[in-house]
Symmetry: C2
Subunit: 201 residues, 2 copies
């Protein structure tokens, strides 16, 4: 790259986006400075607008409009207010909402236990979870974390903490993904599907 300071700064900022390496950031920056449709200003304004108007829900941690806090999912009356689905991040809330499979409230931990990245229990929104269980008379906590080692450790940690509370703790099922065949499933998935088998009636 040619060394124009504003271009270098733009590449540096773009490189900080998730999944964007240096080369991709350079290509993006070049496309932006050559763009004739005002994309730089459109993107800058969208960023400033989002920065001003989007906040974290003080209750569940979901993204929400600054003016709507607690978020809509925390206050909608049609939803079951006594079951809490614990997820890692707001992105997970969106995926579960898209699935249409859950009608309760959410609680985002904002991370998972990760000794490698220095994330301990105190960095997660666990105290808030315990407070909500008491305040909101929660009867069931559904743990919706993935199957990797860190998510498993986080799930186990939550189960232990919650064992002293008057609350049912469940975890989403692991098994064959929808539309898949036994023949093409990997061993770990099949083993989980078998150990997690359910009564067929």
């Amino acid at each position: 790259m040619q060394h124009l300071v504003p271009l270098d700064n733009l590449v540096a900022a773009l490189s900080r986006l998730p999944g964007i390496g240096r080369r991709t950031a350079e290509r993006m920056a070049m496309a932006l400075v050559q763009d004739s449709k005002g994309l730089m200003r459109i993107l800058a304004n969208a960023l400033l607008e989002a920065d001003d108007e989007i906040a974290s829900c003080e209750r569940c941690g979901n993204v929400t409009l600054s003016a709507v806090n607690p978020c809509e999912l925390c206050t909608r009356h049609r939803r079951d207010a006594h079951i809490l689905c614990v997820v890692e991040s707001p992105a997970d809330i969106m995926k579960i909402e898209e699935s249409g499979g859950f009608q309760g409230r959410y609680h985002a931990l904002m991370g998972r236990l990760s000794p490698m990245h220095g994330t301990g229990a105190a960095d997660l929104r666990v105290d808030q979870l315990l407070a909500r269980i008491a305040d909101e008379k929660i009867t069931e906590v559904l743990i919706a974390l993935g199957t990797d080692v860190e998510s498993d450790a986080t799930a186990s940690y939550l189960k232990e903490i919650l064992s002293t509370r008057e609350v049912r703790v469940s975890r989403i099922a692991f098994g064959l993904p929808s539309g898949s065949a036994i023949e093409y499933s990997d061993a770990a998935t099949l083993a989980k599907a078998i150990s997690g088998r359910q009564k067929f009636d």
Copy 2:
């Protein structure tokens, strides 16, 4: 995605970046709104700064600081002012500069002939090229375009137009990439390497 207007706008703006699909834009937007290090504002400021301070060189079309126009490559005295390297875009100028293989001036066409995308000769900086050949007493035009069909058509078009001018027209060589083996080369590359063979002395 949840429908928060500022979030939708951010996804829409990010989707317009080259190579960024809807899903990637959504992931980026979520990472941005959850980021705690002010990345949204840093990126917005970098975009506004670049928009203010970066311009297109009025002579060669390269990116340059608004305050340095014509660009540095057009005015540096150590460079050969009589050979013009014709490229598609400023990004190509950067790649050739990185290679260190060229010491003349550049001229970016800002595109290539593409009936499919509605780009004709009038959309390229061809008139400017002809004017420069006369004004700057250019003795050689080096066409540095790729090997795809559109680049080939553009190169042929330039050769024809330039055939009436008092200027030598050359084209970069096509052949085996550096460090490659005959065994692993594709047929088209090998054929070009053979037809473009050079005296070995």
